[in-house]
């Protein structure tokens, strides 16, 4: 019985933290988010060298062949400093191809995604904002040379930098399909939006007569199941990154509470400051436990994996936005100045809430999963 990390994972955590402290302090993050792509290509290349971009990719395709629990360790650390990168999106795209790509598709894409030379993402949400698999409306029509897609995917994470989009659609007959759409292909247009959280990239994918050849259609028999799995993995990963960010926010606020004096005492002396900080700690520990278990359950294909994911994300979606607001409020006026970092964390918690399903979504899902 060991509900903890392996020695290798603990080493990785230490290495990641050291690397990020050195190369991605928040001062750098602030510079990167002002650039058009919103992250550092140089840092991305270093992350690739460390093996992070290929963490989930099997070794035979140039990856490290590790599991979600290990990726979670890295994401907690990138979350802590709000380090921007398409790591989650890229991992999801790679996982999609690893799960249901043909050997040719895997050989074509996995090495590049693993090495970070191509960036992938999942393009699933549409107008109507339906996260559930049933809500896919984008129709694929049979045409010469394959399936033709006309429509749009919105709120696509990391769209601005993505080279490859794993797109969900309705195949003729109504089944869910997953297709590979390359940036720059005929009829593909990528739009960049200003994100609520500047350390996150977001955009839209417009498909105007894009044709998916057979090499671009992922094995369709269980695409719906794969999509469901990707959404669960996404929820677990953003929760892990979010709880890392929450730990960062708590640490900053605790430091502030120890240093800032009011009426002759550090404000951390007052229970009005102290108790909300203690409550944050309770929430962070609880989300950690739920998220660690969810990642493990997904890795192991445990029976309760879906329930575990929804519990983790539901708890995080409720608790973390409140935590972000409380941290800013405990800072008083300076907390919401551009100059202080704490407001960046607040924005991350707001970004996290709907990402891969908010509390309403996941509690309804839990009810549907027979939990009540």
């Amino acid at each position: 019985m060991n509900f903890g990390f392996t020695e290798e994972q603990e080493l990785l955590r230490g290495e990641a933290r050291k690397f990020l402290d050195q190369h991605a302090p928040i001062a750098n993050v602030r510079k990167w988010v002002e650039t058009p792509e919103g992250f550092s290509r140089e840092l991305w290349a270093q992350m690739a060298e460390l093996g992070w971009t290929g963490l989930l990719v099997p070794e035979e395709h140039g990856g490290v062949g590790l599991d979600l629990v290990t990726l979670l360790v890295v994401l907690e650390e990138t979350g802590r400093t709000l380090c921007p990168s398409p790591l989650i999106s890229n991992s999801l795209a790679a996982r999609a191809i690893a799960l249901c790509g043909s050997p040719l598709q895997q050989a074509r894409w996995l090495p590049e995604l693993a090495q970070g030379t191509k960036i992938g993402t999942l393009a699933h949400l549409e107008v109507g904002d339906g996260l559930g698999v049933d809500h896919v409306r984008l129709e694929a029509r049979e045409t010469d040379g394959g399936l033709r897609l006309d429509g749009a995917k919105c709120a696509v994470a990391d769209a601005p930098a993505a080279d490859l989009f794993v797109v969900s659609y309705r195949a003729p007959g109504g089944a869910i399909g997953l297709g590979l759409v390359e940036r720059g292909a005929a009829g593909v247009e990528v739009e960049s939006f200003e994100a609520l959280d500047p350390s996150k990239s977001i955009g839209a994918l417009r498909l105007d007569g894009v044709v998916l050849g057979s090499d671009a259609v992922l094995a369709s028999a269980d695409a719906g199941e794969t999509l469901e799995a990707l959404l669960e993995i996404g929820a677990a990963l953003v929760t892990a990154e979010g709880v890392g960010a929450a730990e960062g926010a708590l640490a900053i606020t605790v430091q502030f509470a120890n240093e800032r004096e009011q009426f002759g005492k550090p404000i951390g002396t007052y229970q009005g400051v102290k108790h909300p900080l203690a409550e944050m700690f309770v929430d962070i520990e609880s989300i950690k436990s739920l998220a660690y278990y969810a990642a493990w359950a997904l890795d192991e294909g445990a029976d309760d994996a879906s329930v575990a994911v929804s519990r983790a994300k539901a708890y995080a979606s409720c608790a973390l936005p409140k935590l972000g607001i409380d941290c800013v409020q405990l800072h008083g006026g300076v907390g919401y100045t551009w100059e202080y970092d704490i407001q960046l964390y607040l924005k991350r918690t707001k970004w996290l809430r709907p990402s891969f399903g908010d509390a309403d979504y996941h509690y309804e899902r839990l009810a549907a999963l027979g939990d009540a």
Binding site: G335, W338, Q343, S355
Partner: protein, 385 residues
């Protein structure tokens, strides 16, 4: 209980309504120069400075008439009752009460006309919620005061021509409220450096103001030397029950309800999610409580009782609502909330901005923790920290 107006009050309300019928076009139809004309017209009606005595150019309106005027204006989304916000809110009242005749003659008409903006130099970096602990140094040299120090959270300092400033003229004092002096300072004086504070939503409403050997003539002092705390706090303390501001919240929750009907989330209008519907109803209930609290406090005022710390009740409710309404709107928006600006962002990203702008109200007016201390200590009689 009686929510009827007296015949005189009704007549006044009808006057206000007729004026609005005649002069306030719906928001889309207003001409470019509308606001200028508006200010001129309400100035002529003496509705700018409506509570001030008629002899200084105010309207001499009764408390109930003030409430009626603000209420009608707010309900119709009229522009503000005058453009010089801080001048009308507390600089003018302080000058009327403590100013010399010269000061009154010079400043009061310009405040009423909205000739320029005033800003308020009270808060300092280390004073936080403890306003009276201010340290901005001021020494008298002959007929001048020489100021060195810093102010922070000075709203609209970058667009203001004058500042009402609190400085410390004496450090060896019995209580920290002594030794503070109030000065009226032209913002173009040599040695004043205004640095806007960019906030998390990207805008800048506040500024830091640095004073480096800033010299101000003695006649710019408002009230006696060392009495600055009384001069300024009396105006700050004359809080009004703020029923009119509730109209903004009423409008906002109605718009959020509308948003929940328009926005499709998980394939159905967001309003059909029970948790969204419930939270809208809860917010409406809290806003109605605020409105009615305000009316009870107003009734006290009308009966001639001083309004004390009760106003903290609505400040706390408002702080909570400002945050909650922003969060509620974002939850309704679902995934779209992650996009701040971009095609298809509902209402041009207004709700995202809103969710980042609450600190203007929540922290600016004294943090919730401070409001709770005020209620606990001043109303309930619990010991000080």
């Amino acid at each position: 209980m009686d929510f009827q107006l007296s015949p005189k009050e009704e007549a006044f309300r009808d006057e206000v309504r007729s004026f609005l019928d005649e002069n306030l076009l719906p928001e889309g139809e207003r001409a470019d120069d509308f606001v200028g004309t508006w200010f001129q017209k309400i100035r002529e009606k003496r509705w700018v400075g409506f509570s001030w005595p008629r002899e200084v150019g105010g309207g001499g309106g009764s408390i109930m008439e003030q409430v009626i005027l603000k209420d009608e204006m707010a309900q119709r989304k009229a522009p503000p009752l005058g453009s010089c916000f801080m001048g009308l809110a507390w600089v003018g009242p302080a000058i009327i009460q403590y100013g010399t005749d010269e000061q009154k003659q010079r400043f009061v008409p310009e405040i009423l006309d909205g000739t320029y903006h005033w800003c308020t130099g009270y808060s300092e970096p280390d004073s936080g919620s403890d306003l009276a602990s201010l340290k901005c140094r001021c020494e008298r040299e002959g007929d001048e005061y020489v100021i060195n120090g810093q102010k922070i959270w000075t709203s609209i300092a970058m667009w203001s021509k004058w500042m009402i400033l609190l400085v410390r003229t004496q450090t060896a004092v019995l209580t920290k409220h002594d030794g503070i002096t109030c000065l009226l300072v032209p913002m173009d004086t040599k040695g004043i450096d205004v640095r806007p504070i960019r906030n998390m939503s990207g805008g800048a409403m506040f500024a830091e103001v640095f004073f480096d050997d800033v010299r101000v003539p003695v006649e710019n002092r408002l009230g006696e030397e060392g009495q600055g705390w009384q001069v300024t706090i009396s105006a700050l303390a004359s809080e009004r029950s703020s029923i009119a501001e509730v109209h903004g919240l009423i409008r906002r929750i109605a718009e959020i309800g509308d948003l929940a009907r328009r926005k499709v989330k998980n394939g159905r209008p967001a309003i059909e999610a029970p948790s969204i519907r419930r939270r809208i109803l809860e917010a409406e209930t809290q806003i109605e409580a605020m409105r009615l609290n305000g009316m009870r406090f107003l009734t006290k005022q009308l009966k001639g009782e001083p309004l004390g710390s009760e106003t903290s009740v609505n400040k706390l409710l408002r702080a909570k609502l400002e945050v909650d309404l922003g969060e509620l709107a974002l939850e309704i928006l679902g995934s779209d909330a992650a996009v701040r600006k971009g095609e298809g962002t509902l209402d041009g990203g207004r709700w995202q901005d809103l969710s980042l702008n609450w600190p203007d109200v929540v922290i600016g007016g004294g943090t919730p923790n401070i409001q709770k201390n005020i209620i606990a200590e001043r109303i309930l009689g619990l010991p000080k920290d």
